[in-house]
Subunit: 506 residues, 2 copies
């Protein structure tokens, strides 16, 4: 086959590039320098310090350049046991020299997955925004902590949390406190048995929060969804009523704005009406979809979000900020403080020479916290509101293009016919099973995506996720996600061709 | 007074330096470039991209150099409302130019607290290790996620969590699961009313964990401590017995290794015997003190830690790794997985082409996680075991030197006469109250440390924390912490002189 020949040639070229790695050869001239020779340990070591840091930066610049070269691999795959041989992870008795450290860095760069590569579609976070990266370099250098105003970089009003899962935990905890404040001091033993509701397609962190908070994962009910993955409001209300009849105390509903697999939008308006009827806390998990608010053309998908009592939003996903950057917004002023503060007077003194309401530490479960917000601020300024609008609209256009290409290419089948967001779910059906009966086809399809993915990883050419949907009895299917703001149509064409190349003859 | 004149001269010098800020003036030559002109959005923009990133690096190098110049300020203090005028935080409609972004960075660097300054003693984390910083720059550039092997940088076996508070939450949750696994699915309503124990000097995160987990903060008992801040084992056992009599179910004891205020070491051996007698989970919160294990000369302070079922350890404190870097170790293999896994098949497929036990995501409450471990690994290699041993021993020597100076200087009084770690707690007694009676002295001392600290911040010369101890009825006292590996005796002398200068006449 002509195609696979071309592919082979391409792969050889990539392998050569990786081995040559022209950018991974920065070294200090003086071979016997150690960390102790650097500033500030050695006050006369500024020149060498500057050289060392610049060597690291050269390495990183080389990495960035190579990561964006479409003819390079997304990863150099090795089994864990091989990896252990390729890179020495041990901590030695004696210090390693600066050159050895630079070599360690270079090895790690070579062996890691390039999540910013234009052919990486595996997670919701993709691409590497260089302004956000510069912001993160600055944050590392400042090494400031978020918990009191006096040691914060500036006063960003933002309940930033590390990761959407923890943000969701904050929301469920705040909701519990709003309805039964005594639980904080007296425990769950002092209040009725709570239960909460989220769609079967929602992120597992809601169920996890129920487990952690002592509500019990089984008391977090999974509400069925329609064929596109949207929560069925009628099923929600039925489950609320049933739970009450069974002696449980419903208090919290999570609507998902942009589900992880299908990118589906739960009908927030309808859900919020049910919440009002039953006096329940409405939380919107917009970790993935929240960024769409920045686009006037698409923000209607979040209609009703203004009725939520809390919202989770991860700028490190759609907005392309670096990992991590998550926020939990809670409408009721003071609630986060009330639920989380433990009167740690030794940390949060009230007799400081400034307005201590700027000390945000007592609002959080965490104590020391990395400053995750600076990079988002810098990046957002670099784009302006206008830039984000264009970026998000462009990604939606790319998703439409990819959907059209999938529909028009032989062997591909959509799982959800009209994707509503940047997730495009599809099967690839190898030639041999195109004409078998439906039941056998479904059974054999289960193994196709894993096989293709395994080949992709070994070749290192691209990465895209897959999963089955057990609720809807759908065998393993690919979930393409497009969130890298630099993705081009050729990248989308590439992945379609690659899947055909790897899967046609299976 | 001669002293205050000298001080004034010094301050003027510092202010001039800050205003000139020779390092904060990097600019791109071309004034009208924007983020969209950079790589990869503009494939021909490599040269400008490299220039932009190097400008940021020059800014950071200048910051590092200045931060280590002892004649510069630790901070330029402004009230929150002034700060709002000094720095424009708004997100504009249109993109800002690269030069404007560089200016934003430079302003933030100027206005932030220099936590790496040799006169910063305010928190447990101090100093800026440049190797760890380089590691963090690399991590930002790779932007990898911790949750599956395939997208991890390499296979570090490490249950890294963001911050010791979350690590402590993991430990309490794991302990609950070990004794009552059904709580995960059925909630606290299905098990007896739990209670746990920690010293009155322990970090508030243990109480906070009890609140979050639905145990109730009041069911986390504060055990009294001796004059140095060490938990009293007899009081622990009495409280355990009393709680059982009151119908509670004791399950968890936290021993603190290095308390936040006094740096005290709870007697782990004795506590572990009590735990064995009553069949309780022993957790050691070694967030602050854990690093002392690296010193053969001092590791005896942690004797008994090997009997713990879980340990929290924050390398970003004593080991000087950048924020954040925290770990929760749990002895029982598989327990963290059992308690936290939610069978998120769509994220953690079992049919991957490698050993999926390397996918650590299902062990964590968090989903997307920043890679916090790389910088520690790189830094540790730069020092070797030997380097850390020397670093920690040297810090202990510095603490002894400071203690001796405090004891020998008129007006200073130790709160705990023989500090056991790197926290040195003391009062400064102004001349006017040295001869008043004890009760009045104590009452007037309450206001002294806050006044001195406020002056320190306004002058920007140094930062050191203070707090009262309500349990022991000790009025506000300073808590000096020495963890910056580059601290010199002159820096310790400086803070003593500064306190005398600011406090003598109060």
């Amino acid at each position: 086959m002509e195609d696979s020949k071309n592919q082979q040639k391409e792969t050889t070229k990539i392998e050569q590039k990786l081995q040559n790695g022209p950018f991974f050869t920065e070294k200090m001239e003086n071979k016997n320098l150690f960390a102790t020779d650097l500033f500030p340990h050695n006050p006369r070591g500024w020149e060498e310090t500057s050289k060392f840091l610049k060597s690291i930066v050269e390495l990183l610049l080389g990495y960035i350049k190579e990561e964006n070269d479409r003819s390079t691999k997304v990863l150099e795959f090795h089994q864990p046991e091989e990896m252990a041989k390729l890179i020495d992870l041990n901590i030695p008795e004696d210090p390693m020299s600066l050159n050895e450290l630079i070599k360690s860095c270079s090895e790690v760069l070579r062996l890691g997955v390039r999540t910013g590569h234009p052919h990486f579609f595996n997670q919701l976070s993709q691409g590497l925004d260089l302004i956000a990266m510069a912001g993160e370099w600055l944050t590392a250098t400042c090494n400031t902590n978020m918990f009191t105003y006096e040691i914060c970089i500036a006063h960003f009003h933002f309940n930033g949390e590390r990761g959407g899962a923890i943000a969701n935990l904050y929301a469920v905890n705040a909701a519990r406190h709003a309805v039964f404040p005594r639980a904080k001091h007296l425990g769950m033993v002092s209040i009725p048995p709570l239960c909460c509701f989220t769609s079967e397609e929602s992120h597992y962190s809601i169920k996890s929060a129920a487990a952690v908070l002592g509500i019990g994962a089984d008391n977090c009910f999974n509400i069925p969804t329609d064929a596109s993955g949207r929560m069925l409001p009628r099923a929600l209300e039925e489950q609320i009523i049933k739970s009450k009849e069974e002696g449980l105390y419903p208090f919290f509903v999570c609507a998902t704005a942009g589900t992880t697999v299908y990118g589906a939008w739960d009908p927030i308006e309808e859900i919020s009406e049910i919440c009002e009827r039953h006096n329940l806390w409405l939380h919107v998990d917009a970790a993935w979809g929240g960024g769409i608010l920045l686009s006037p053309e698409y923000r209607h998908k979040l209609a009703g979000i203004e009725r939520a009592k809390s919202v989770t939003w991860n700028p490190h996903k759609l907005m392309g900020s670096l990992l991590q950057c998550s926020a939990c917004f809670v409408r009721q002023e003071g609630l986060l403080f009330q639920v989380n503060q433990m009167s740690a007077d030794y940390l949060f003194q009230q007799d400081k020479p400034y307005d201590v309401s700027y000390d945000t530490g007592d609002k959080a479960i965490q104590c020391g916290r990395h400053n995750d917000i600076f990079k988002l601020w810098l990046m957002w300024r670099s784009k302006g509101m206008e830039g984000y609008r264009r970026q998000i609209n462009r990604l939606m256009d790319m998703a439409k293009y990819f959907t059209e290409r999938i529909k028009a290419t032989e062997g591909f089948e959509m799982v959800v016919d009209e994707p509503e967001f940047l997730n495009i779910c599809f099967w690839y059906v190898p030639k041999s099973i195109r004409s078998v009966d439906l039941r056998e086809k479904m059974s054999r399809l289960e193994k196709i995506a894993p096989k293709i993915k395994a080949q992709m990883m070994k070749r290192g050419t691209t990465m895209v996720g897959y999963q089955p949907d057990e609720h809807k009895k759908r065998p393993n299917f690919f979930r393409m996600v497009i969130s890298n703001s630099n993705v081009q149509k050729v990248d989308l064409d590439f992945i379609i061709d690659e899947i055909v190349n790897l899967g046609y003859d299976l």
